[in-house]
Symmetry: C2
Subunit: 399 residues, 2 copies
C-alpha cells in the first residue's frame, strides 16, 4: 500500500492551470498535468525513436494496459490484476454489457435509466438489436422498482452527467443480484471524483474514461474492471489478438486470456498511455476519503453561495451530498448565454441542453477560492443581465 | 491535388533512424518522424493546456478524425469524406464486417483465408457467434473458387502479414459482386506500402492501421473507409455518440450521422492523432506509383542478393512482384535464432512462427544500402553459423 498523506496544495501545483481561468469543467476534460508533456516527449524519443519495435518488450508497452490498470484499481476500490486499459468508454460499455448478458443466457432485458449518458444508451441499443435483447429505460428514481426476474443486466452510470445525482451502487447491485441479474457500472463521473468501492459494493463489471477527473488528456484510453468471480467466465463479443491467451503464437482460433486481460482487443495506445501515466502520478499519495471530503466541501460551498447570491438559478442537483457526485448543476432559462458570459470572463463550466449550467469540482486542483470567484462573477453577470447584451457564437463543448 | 514530386532523400531525412541500425521492420512499427515529438508537445502545451475543454472546437479536435481521414484517403485510392479515424484495427474490422453482413441479410457466410492476420479471424469469430453467421476460412489460393451464392461478406487482408502475398483486389471484388456479396479489405500491410486503389477496385469497405508504413507511432489509431454507395446505408453494431447525427443534442435514441462519420464511436484519441498528423506530412509530395516502383526495386534486390549469398534460406514470398506487397520473407529451420543474431548486429526484421524471417521495405526511408548491408550481415551469420553460438533471450516482437 502506498503511503497516503493527501496534500492538495501539492496536487494543485501538479497541473497546468492557465492564469485568469477558474476551471470548473474537469468533469469534461481534466487539465494537463505539468509532467505530462515531457513524459510523452521522453517516451517518444527514448522508446519509440530509439528502441523502435523492441519497445514492445524493452519499454514494457505490451504490459502497459494492465500496469496502468493496477494504478486505477486503487482509486475505484478494485484489486490488482482486475483492471485493464484500452479503447474508448463506448467500446468498453459494449464489452461489459455483452459479457454480462452472455452470463445470463435465459434473460433478455437490459435495464438502464434516462439519466445515463446517451452514448451508453446508443451502444446498448446497437448491441440489443444484434443479440436479440431489450433495452428498457426508466427514470433514475424508478430503477429499483424496475428490477425484476426478467432482468439480465442492470447498466447504470453511477453519477449522472447532468445533475450529478449519485446512485447507491451497493444497494442497487444487491437488488439486481437478488433478482438474479448482473450489474455494469459506468464510472465516467465517479473515478477520481468520489470514493468508489467496487469490491465493497459487490459489483460485477465496471467501465470508465480517464480524461475527466483522472486528467489523462483528450481522448485518453478507457478502462474496464471485471469482478474476479466473472473474470475467467466472461466471453466478450469483441475478440482481439491482445486479449488472446497467446497473442504471438498466431493461432487460427481465439482462446481468451485468463482474467480481465481478455477484455483487451487491439494494439494499445502507447503514446496516450504515457500521458495518462504522468497524470496518475498525481494520485500517488491521495487518500480517497480525503478526496471525497474535499469534494463535498467544495460542492456544499458552491451551492450555498449560489443560492445566497444568484436567486434566478434553480438547483438541479441533489441537495444531500451523500446522493451527489462531484459536480453541481443549476437551471436557468438562458443557460447557454449565461455560460458563454461566464466563459468570456474566465469561469469555465459547461452548458447542457436545454437549460443546464454544469460545474465540476475536481478536488485535486479546485479550491475554495475557485468557488467564491466563480459565484461572484456569475452573480454579477446575472444581476447586470450582461449575458443578454453579448453575442455568443461558441458551440457546445464536449461532455 | 497536391503537387507530387517524390524525393526519397527528403522522405528518409524526415525520420529518426538510430545510427548503426538497418530497420526492416516498418511493416510492424514505423520509425518516429522527426517532427512528431515536437508536434505532440505543441498540441499538448498550446491546445490541451491552454485551451482546455475549448480545444474540441478551437483546435479542431472534434473534426480531426475526418480531417486526418482525408489525408489517408489519397494514399489508398479513396475520395474526400470517405475515411474516418479511430479505435484499433480489430474494432474497425468488427464494424466493417458487421455493417457489410447487415447489408446482405439473407446470407450467413463470411469468407476469409488462412493467411489473414489472426486478430481479424478472432474478431469475425466473435461477431459470427453473436449474429448467427458462419466464418469459412480457406487457403489464400482457394478464395476465388470458394465464392458462391451463400456468401455475404468476403473479408481479406490484401497483403499477407507473413508471406507478403498480395491478393488481386479488383478481381476478387468483382467475383464477390458477381455472386451478390460484399467485400471488406484490411489494408494493414498495404496502406503506405503499395498503390492501393479502393475506388478503382470497386471495393465496399476497407480498414487499416497507421503504425506500420504510415508511421503514426505505437498504437496509432485505425481508419475505416466506406464506399459512398454504402455510406448512408451501413448500420454498424457499435453505435457511439461520436457517430450520432447530433452528438451534442444528447438525444435518447441513436440516429446515425450521414456518411462514414457514423463509423466513429467514442471520443477520438487527440494526442495520438497529433503524432499521426506529423507522420502524414511526410507523404505530402509522394506519388504512389513512385512509391510502388521503389518498393519493387528494394524487394527485388533483396530477393536476388539473398538467393545469391544465403543458400540455406528458402523464399517464402511470391517471386512475381505484382503478386507481392512491400515485404519479403524467407524460411530457415532456426529462424528465431538467426533473427536474434541479426538484431544483435543491428539488422532489425522479425520472426514469425514457426520458421519465418520477415523483412519489410518501407520506400519512404529504406534504401539500396539497407538491402546490401542486411544481406551482407545475414550471409556472414549463416556462413559462420554464429547464430548457433549465442544465447538469445528476447521475446517475439509485435507484428
Amino acid at each position: 500500500m502506498t503511503d497516503l498523506s493527501t496534500d492538495f496544495t501539492r496536487t494543485r501545483a501538479a497541473f497546468h492551470l492557465p492564469s485568469g481561468v477558474t476551471y470548473l469543467d474537469g468533469n469534461s476534460l481534466g487539465p494537463m498535468p505539468v509532467a505530462a508533456r515531457d513524459r510523452v516527449a521522453a517516451m517518444m524519443q527514448d522508446e519509440w525513436a530509439q528502441m523502435l519495435i523492441r519497445g514492445w518488450n524493452e519499454a514494457g508497452w505490451y504490459a502497459q494496459p494492465r500496469v496502468t490498470g493496477d494504478r486505477i484499481a486503487r482509486l475505484i476500490g478494485a484489486g490488482d490484476g482486475q483492471v485493464v486499459m484500452g479503447d474508448t468508454l463506448s467500446i468498453k460499455v459494449f464489452q461489459a454489457v455483452s459479457a454480462a448478458r452472455a452470463l445470463r443466457p435465459g434473460r433478455r432485458v437490459i435495464l438502464s435509466d434516462s439519466g445515463n449518458f446517451p452514448s451508453d444508451l446508443y451502444v446498448v441499443q446497437g448491441l440489443a438489436r444484434a443479440i436479440d435483447s431489450d433495452l428498457r429505460v426508466v427514470e433514475p428514481e424508478a430503477v429499483a422498482e424496475a428490477i425484476d426476474d426478467d432482468l439480465a443486466v442492470l447498466m447504470l452510470t453511477e453519477v449522472d452527467y447532468r445533475t450529478g445525482r449519485r446512485h447507491d451502487m451497493a444497494a442497487l447491485t444487491a437488488a439486481a443480484h437478488d433478482a438474479g441479474a448482473l450489474t455494469v457500472w459506468d464510472l465516467a463521473h465517479s473515478a477520481g471524483a468520489v470514493d468508489v468501492d467496487l469490491l465493497g459494493a459487490d459489483a460485477d463489471f465496471a467501465v470508465g474514461c480517464t480524461y475527466k477527473y483522472l486528467n489523462g488528456g483528450p481522448g485518453a484510453p478507457a478502462f474496464i474492471w471485471t469482478h474476479p468471480r466473472h473474470a475467467d467466465a466472461a466471453q466478450p463479443i469483441l475478440q482481439g489478438w491482445m486479449g488472446h491467451a497467446a497473442p504471438f503464437a498466431f493461432q487460427p482460433d481465439y482462446e481468451p486470456a485468463g482474467g480481465v486481460e481478455r477484455m483487451r482487443v487491439g494494439t494499445p495506445p502507447v503514446i496516450a498511455l504515457a500521458a495518462l501515466d504522468a497524470a496518475l502520478d498525481v494520485w500517488d499519495h491521495v487518500a480517497m476519503p480525503d478526496l471525497r471530503a474535499r469534494s463535498i466541501e467544495l460542492t456544499e460551498a458552491f451551492i450555498a453561495q449560489v443560492e445566497a447570491s444568484c436567486p434566478d438559478l434553480t438547483l438541479n442537483s441533489p441537495r444531500d451530498p451523500a446522493r451527489r457526485g462531484s459536480q453541481v448543476s443549476f437551471r436557468h432559462p438562458q443557460a447557454y448565454a449565461v455560460m458563454q458570459a461566464l466563459i468570456a470572463q474566465g469561469v469555465i463550466g459547461d452548458f447542457r441542453a436545454p437549460d443546464v449550467l454544469r460545474f465540476g469540482f475536481a478536488p485535486l486542483y479546485n479550491t475554495a477560492e475557485d468557488v467564491s470567484r466563480a459565484v461572484g462573477i456569475m452573480a454579477r453577470i446575472l444581476r447586470e443581465g450582461s449575458w443578454d447584451r453579448q453575442e455568443y457564437h461558441a458551440r457546445a463543448a464536449v461532455t
